[in-house]
């Protein structure tokens, strides 16, 4: 970098400045990019809709901003996918179906069976989720949101559930089976919510 600084300039792009080694970072002028604000995103999306002749209602717009999590490229990809599949009039349901986000009812249903404390019911619900083809990694992250936002669950139980979610996520990345992992998560969640003992009684 230093030898050729007369004839060459480097532009580095990265997600995390902390992962660039210090000697390299100190030789560069840094520009920080903040995530795009909601207004900018929605104005851009509306601009695209205008240019492409798409019809997007306000509910669909808010869904789009929530499923894309502040990522404009992702929002545009979803929008294009939905436009290609469903034509020019796009509802929030269409956006959910192209984005691979699991409908909130399905997540709530699984959470409710965990709350009921009946293992066989939860097992049936897990089987259902797998048969519907929903990605389990996505399920885990949405279940995480439900658990964190729940008002009627004490912090200790939340922590227990989140621990099992983290464990399952790591195992899925390693390529473990989706059904078994989701069942394990459901079982752990159930034991936490119904105040069953955390330790197994028959382990030797």
């Amino acid at each position: 970098m230093e030898t050729y600084s007369k004839v060459t300039r480097f532009f580095f792009i990265c997600n995390y400045i902390s992962r660039i080694i210090e000697p390299l970072a100190s030789r560069c002028a840094k520009f920080r990019f903040k995530p795009l604000s909601e207004e900018i995103m929605s104005s851009r999306i509306l601009h695209i809709c205008d240019q492409e002749g798409l019809n997007l209602d306000s509910e669909a717009l808010s869904t789009l901003s929530s499923i894309s999590q502040g990522d404009l490229r992702r929002a545009i990809t979803y929008l294009q996918g939905a436009a290609r599949l469903f034509g020019s009039s796009i509802s929030s349901k269409d956006l959910i179906s192209v984005s691979g986000v699991i409908p909130q009812e399905v997540v709530e249903a699984l959470y409710a069976t965990c709350k009921s404390g009946n293992f066989d019911l939860a097992n049936k619900e897990v089987n259902n989720v797998i048969a519907e083809g929903y990605p389990v990694s996505q399920m885990i992250s949405q279940l995480f949101n439900v658990v964190v936002e729940a008002d009627d669950v004490p912090d200790e139980q939340k922590a227990r559930i989140c621990k099992s979610l983290a464990e399952a996520d790591k195992r899925l990345v390693d390529g473990a089976d989706e059904y078994l992992q989701l069942l394990d998560v459901a079982s752990n969640t159930m034991r936490a919510l119904c105040n069953m003992p955390q330790e197994f009684s028959f382990e030797t």
Partner: protein, 354 residues
């Protein structure tokens, strides 16, 4: 010809089960272009059928004239050359392959072979459809590195080549690939839909279906359409005319696992563990995938257990399946699970009955 193949819908218009998806796909390709696609869903839900019907929709009947090729590839990887053998299904407009077959060398397939296939652009005199379609099966079995290389290939050759990816679980496909494709979730057909298909086949074959018979097959099939049709045909071979309480033959490997479960419940000892090992080996030798063996075993055991033990057992099943994925030899991990189960169950029996 098996009914599964005979009654596979050939065009998007004939599709009975996923009509909504078929309609959307039709709209998608009616415009000149089509994006990269990622089909995901459980097995027997109709992903492959939809893909073949889609290809026919794009390219017309020529998409059905496929030939199987077994080619040897020589790949120059810097200091050494790698020989790879790969089976591909090709027609004039599309190529289909399962890169997962190459095991740990799958990265080279993705980097070199797909590149080579993607490079020669089909010449279409009408100036339409100037792209080729590559169908990749089982992308969830690809290693991380291969998936990262695939991402580059996808972008580089996107002008002349469209990818259709097919997998069971989209969790195992990296975010980078998922975000470059239009994701299409193919859910397993509901039992009513399976009944509808079975009745349709029954009508075409001129069979008398007693009421409730199709429903029982559908219930046994675990929402797997292929399996439902196969067992329907087996029933037809075994006994016709059908009676409404005719037994539906279960898969023999499932019987066998159910036997193993009974063995384990009866006696918990090293001697029994040794016998079980023999039986598990038998299953693995017959090419039943180890995770399916473990899952089925868990299912059989859960049926027989008390509620308080279920949590514990399913935790260990998840634990050992994960370890199996990281390790090399599946038998160790299945056996470890069986041993763990025996010790838990024994402790439970002692605690309950003294």
């Amino acid at each position: 010809m098996l009914w599964v193949d005979k009654y596979r819908p050939k065009t998007l218009a004939q599709v009975i089960v996923h009509e909504d998806i078929a309609q959307n796909l039709k709209k998608l390709v009616n415009e000149q272009d089509c994006p990269h696609l990622l089909f995901y869903g459980p097995s027997g839900s109709g992903k492959k059928t939809l893909i073949m019907a889609l290809l026919r929709q794009i390219f017309g009947p020529s998409a059905e004239k496929v030939k199987v090729e077994n080619r040897n590839w020589k790949i120059d990887a810097g200091s050494r050359t790698i020989d790879l053998e790969l089976t591909t299904l090709t027609s004039t407009n599309h190529v289909e392959l399962s890169p997962g077959d190459a095991g740990f060398q799958d990265r080279y397939i993705v980097q070199e072979i797909i590149k080579e296939l993607a490079k020669d652009r089909p010449l279409d005199t009408k100036g339409k459809k100037g792209f080729k379609v590559l169908v990749l099966n089982e992308v969830d079995k690809l290693s991380r590195e291969a998936q990262h290389s695939l991402r580059r290939t996808m972008e580089k050759y996107s002008a002349y080549c469209r990818l259709i990816l097919c997998c069971n679980s989209s969790s195992k496909v990296t975010e980078a690939i998922r975000s470059r494709c239009l994701n299409i979730r193919v859910n397993a057909p509901s039992e009513e839909q399976i009944v509808k298909v079975l009745e349709f086949i029954g009508k075409k074959e001129g069979l008398q279906l007693p009421s409730g018979f199709a429903a029982r097959i559908a219930e046994k099939s675990n929402r797997n359409l292929r399996r439902a049709i196969l067992s329907f045909e087996t029933c037809r071979v075994q006994q016709y005319p059908f009676t409404s309480n005719q037994a539906i033959p279960p898969m023999d490997w499932e019987e066998y696992i159910s036997e193993i479960a009974t063995d384990i419940m009866k006696e918990q000892s090293p001697k029994r563990l040794f016998q079980v090992r023999g039986k598990v080996y038998e299953l693995l030798v017959n090419c039943i995938p180890p995770e399916i063996v473990l899952k089925r075993l868990l299912y059989e055991l859960l049926k027989k257990l008390d509620a308080e033990l279920k949590h514990e057992v399913c935790h260990w099943a998840a634990y050992y399946e994960h370890r199996m994925r990281l390790g090399q030899k599946a038998i160790f991990h299945i056996e470890a699970f069986v041993a763990k189960f025996m010790s838990i169950y024994k402790a439970f029996l002692i605690a309950t009955f003294g």
